[in-house]
């Protein structure tokens, strides 16, 4: 309905096509803006990554079921979005994840066992962000988008934007979900990024759900258009298409590194699993929906393409499967072996400079613990 006075409601503007380079049927299609060629190695690499992170996810889910993890946030269905986004990064780029970016963590060289440790309750993230250029998982919805924007402002101050040197120019990625788009922090991140023209790529995995709430509760128009309201570009990509996600992210990162400022990518995908292992999605969504999205599986379509074009043979596929088995086996083994932390250390971690106050509390705890050891010995 077009309002006679205020003009067409913005949601009526025809939706530009979703950027897609590989159809659900495994057909390679072309997009004028993203006319990218991929080498066989690249394609096989994407495939391997996706298979391995899917295994990582399945294995972690199983570990949770066996009581080894307190919780697990599944990425099932979002492999292409995450591997596409992760592989598009330059080494110097920095990533701020949510709690579900296991695939991006994988691309950044974070050992999956470190992810298990977090969900096991051993720690709250034990990888070194500076080593991997990959921040800690952030559970408070949206908080990390501001960190990413500030980090990008730091990159600007370091003079590492628009130098033209590919090794130096740096971009920052802020991951978040469709639900997160409603948080004040995320919108403030848009404001700051636009105001300072910060080199940050906002990467939203619209997996259609925020726990039990469908995307429509958060926005009545496609999410990539949110960016337009803040004066920077937004684009929607098929998040189940690793080629398209890779190509779009790569171009967006390059644009940011050159100093052209922020951009929002909406990776349109679907959360095939539960929100987390404590969730029961049958309470709020139809299995029909899930079935429909199964047909768009990100791995299946690439496998079809690789096979059909003779890019992957049985040996390759078997090798990837073997790698997945090995990964699974290692995760199980090393998860069991994860040592519990020591309560004694709590007080050492609060500050960079420990206070006398906390040292005293620590000593008191140690004395109390020792008295129990005496009693029980």
């Amino acid at each position: 309905m077009t309002d006679p006075v205020f003009g067409p409601a913005p949601e009526r503007v025809p939706d530009p096509e979703l950027v897609q380079l590989l159809t659900p049927e495994g057909e390679r299609v072309h997009h004028p803006g993203f006319d990218v060629d991929f080498t066989a190695d690249e394609l096989c690499g994407f495939y391997r990554d996706m298979v391995l992170v899917r295994r990582l996810d399945i294995e972690a889910t199983a570990l949770q079921r066996h009581g080894e993890l307190g919780l697990w946030a599944q990425l099932l269905g979002q492999e292409a979005a995450q591997i596409g986004a992760g592989r598009a990064l330059a080494p110097q780029d920095f990533v701020f994840p949510t709690y579900r970016e296991h695939g991006v963590a994988w691309c950044r060289g974070v050992d999956p066992v470190r992810l298990l440790a977090l969900f096991r309750g051993v720690d709250q993230g034990s990888w070194d962000p500076a080593e991997h250029n990959f921040g800690l998982y952030t559970i408070v919805i949206g908080a990390q988008t501001l960190h990413a924007t500030g980090y990008a402002m730091g990159v600007q101050r370091d003079g590492l934007v628009g130098t033209g040197e590919p090794e130096r120019d740096t971009a920052v990625v802020a991951h978040f979900g469709d639900g997160a788009s409603s948080q004040g922090d995320v919108n403030e991140a848009f404001v700051f990024a636009a105001s300072f023209n910060a080199p940050v790529v906002f990467f939203c995995q619209n997996n259609q759900w925020a726990i039990s709430e469908p995307f429509e509760r958060q926005s009545r128009i496609p999410l990539y258009r949110r960016a337009h309201g803040f004066g920077f570009p937004g684009i929607r990509v098929d998040g189940n298409d690793v080629l398209a996600t890779y190509a779009v992210t790569k171009a967006a990162l390059q644009r940011a590194r050159e100093g052209q400022g922020p951009i929002l990518i909406e990776a349109y995908t679907y959360r095939m699993g539960a929100h987390t292992t404590t969730d029961d999605p049958t309470r709020y969504r139809l299995s029909d929906d899930v079935e429909h999205w199964k047909l768009k599986d990100p791995i299946a379509r690439l496998e079809v393409y690789l096979r059909r074009n003779g890019l992957a043979d049985d040996a390759f596929l078997a090798d990837v499967a073997a790698q997945a088995d090995a990964l699974g086996e290692r995760m199980r083994r090393e998860c069991h072996a994860l040592p519990d932390p020591s309560p004694h250390d709590l007080w050492d971690l609060v500050h960079a400079e420990k206070t006398a106050e906390l040292a005293a509390q620590q000593a008191e705890y140690d004395a109390h613990a020792a008295s129990f050891e005496e009693v029980s010995s």
């Binding site: 307190g70 919780l71 709690y99 977090l118 969900f119 096991r120 309750g121 051993v122 720690d123 709250q124 559970i139 408070v140 919805i141 639900g179 997160a180 409603s182 948080q183 004040g184 922090d185 925020a210 726990i211 039990s212 709430e213 509760r217 958060q218 404590t278 969730d279 309470r283 709020y284 519990d340 932390p341 020591s342 309560p343 709590l346 007080w347 971690l349 609060v350 106050e357 906390l358 509390q361 705890y365 109390h368 613990a369 008295s371 129990f372």
Partner: protein, 325 residues
């Protein structure tokens, strides 16, 4: 009389309140179809419709801020904050608006809002899911703050809180949601909301607790009794206003007081209770008021949360220490 869990008791209480007053609306993340991540609002949207049980966008400040507007329009919003650690984005609205509108408007604007917060630890969760933010609300004039510790109280107190004309932060000990089962007499007259209660009489020392630590203290009293020491246990129930009448009365008899909560010790409720009781009962105290609480560190990873949380041993140890002065 029905036997039910705390979760079911709260659900039944909410239902009762919604039936009694059609201005009562429930708002929050996933409170509708899903019935909340803890199922406290289970079935309510189905029965009362989505105009009264509202799945909101994912934004806590938005939830509380729009609830303020609904309250100004005559509604009684019951807001669910999904986990304690996620109340902070709404902190500004709670502290500057919810708490102050009555005062600011010279009493003309009432905000009969209930902010339900599942609080406390012990469920093996990841970060931000085990916090005890109550002290910050108790420090904020204009808010009332209560905590239930058992199904019968949960059932009655949620209705009373909704009925109250002031904003109430309603704390629910999440780790007891599905564990504590008890008889709930739905027709029994409820104790006044703003009163604390002696839940176990005793004569040698007094324990004060609320929410999840009440059962810890009751267990401690049982063990102490076996060792010949009689501990009185008081369930605070109302944290703001504080009802310390039974505590003063008790301390005048026992001379010894230990306050137990999961919140960080420094500036936790124990500090206020220690200060007030010492002032009120100075000459009766045989020992300083001692506090057992969460350490002054962030809430730790799940594998060591047991060390962080007050347990029977730390409570009994503190009781012992009050005998050492």
């Amino acid at each position: 009389m029905t036997t039910m869990t705390l979760a079911k008791a709260l659900n039944a209480g909410l239902r009762k309140a919604m039936e009694a007053d059609d201005k009562v609306v429930i708002m929050g993340e996933d409170v509708g179809t899903l019935g909340g991540v803890f199922r406290i609002t289970d079935g309510l949207q189905k029965d009362f419709g989505d105009a009264r049980v509202i799945d909101t966008p994912l934004a806590e400040s938005g939830i509380v801020g729009t609830a303020v507007g609904l309250a100004m329009r005559g509604y009684r919003p019951v807001v669910e904050i999904q986990f304690d650690g996620f109340v902070y984005p709404a902190y500004d609205q709670i502290v500057c608006q919810v708490a102050k509108l009555h005062f600011r408007s010279l009493g003309r604007v009432r905000i009969p809002m209930v902010i339900r917060i599942p609080f406390g630890g012990g469920i093996g969760a990841v970060e931000h899911h085990s916090e005890s933010p109550e002290a910050q609300f108790v420090h904020t004039p204009g808010l009332k703050v209560v905590a239930c510790s058992n199904p019968a109280d949960g059932y009655a107190m949620i209705q009373q809180a909704i009925h109250a004309d002031d904003p109430v932060v309603f704390l629910e000990p999440k780790r007891l949601y599905h564990s504590a089962k008890a008889d709930v007499d739905e027709s029994a007259p409820a104790a006044p909301l703003w009163q604390s209660r002696v839940v176990r009489p005793g004569s040698d020392a007094t324990l004060v607790a609320y929410g999840p630590t009440v059962s810890t203290c009751l267990d401690a009293a049982t063990v102490a009794a076996e060792e010949g020491r009689s501990l009185e246990v008081i369930d605070l129930r109302t944290l703001s206003p504080l009802d310390l009448v039974p505590v003063h009365e008790s301390v005048r008899r026992t001379g010894r007081l230990v306050v137990v909560h999961e919140a960080h010790v420094t500036l936790g409720l124990g500090a206020e209770i220690a200060a007030r009781v010492t002032e009120e009962c100075f000459h009766s105290l045989e020992a300083p008021v001692l506090r057992v609480g969460g350490f002054d560190t962030p809430y730790p990873p799940a594998r060591i949360e047991e060390a962080f949380l007050p347990d029977l041993d730390r409570v009994l140890d503190a009781v012992d220490r009050t005998f050492g002065f």
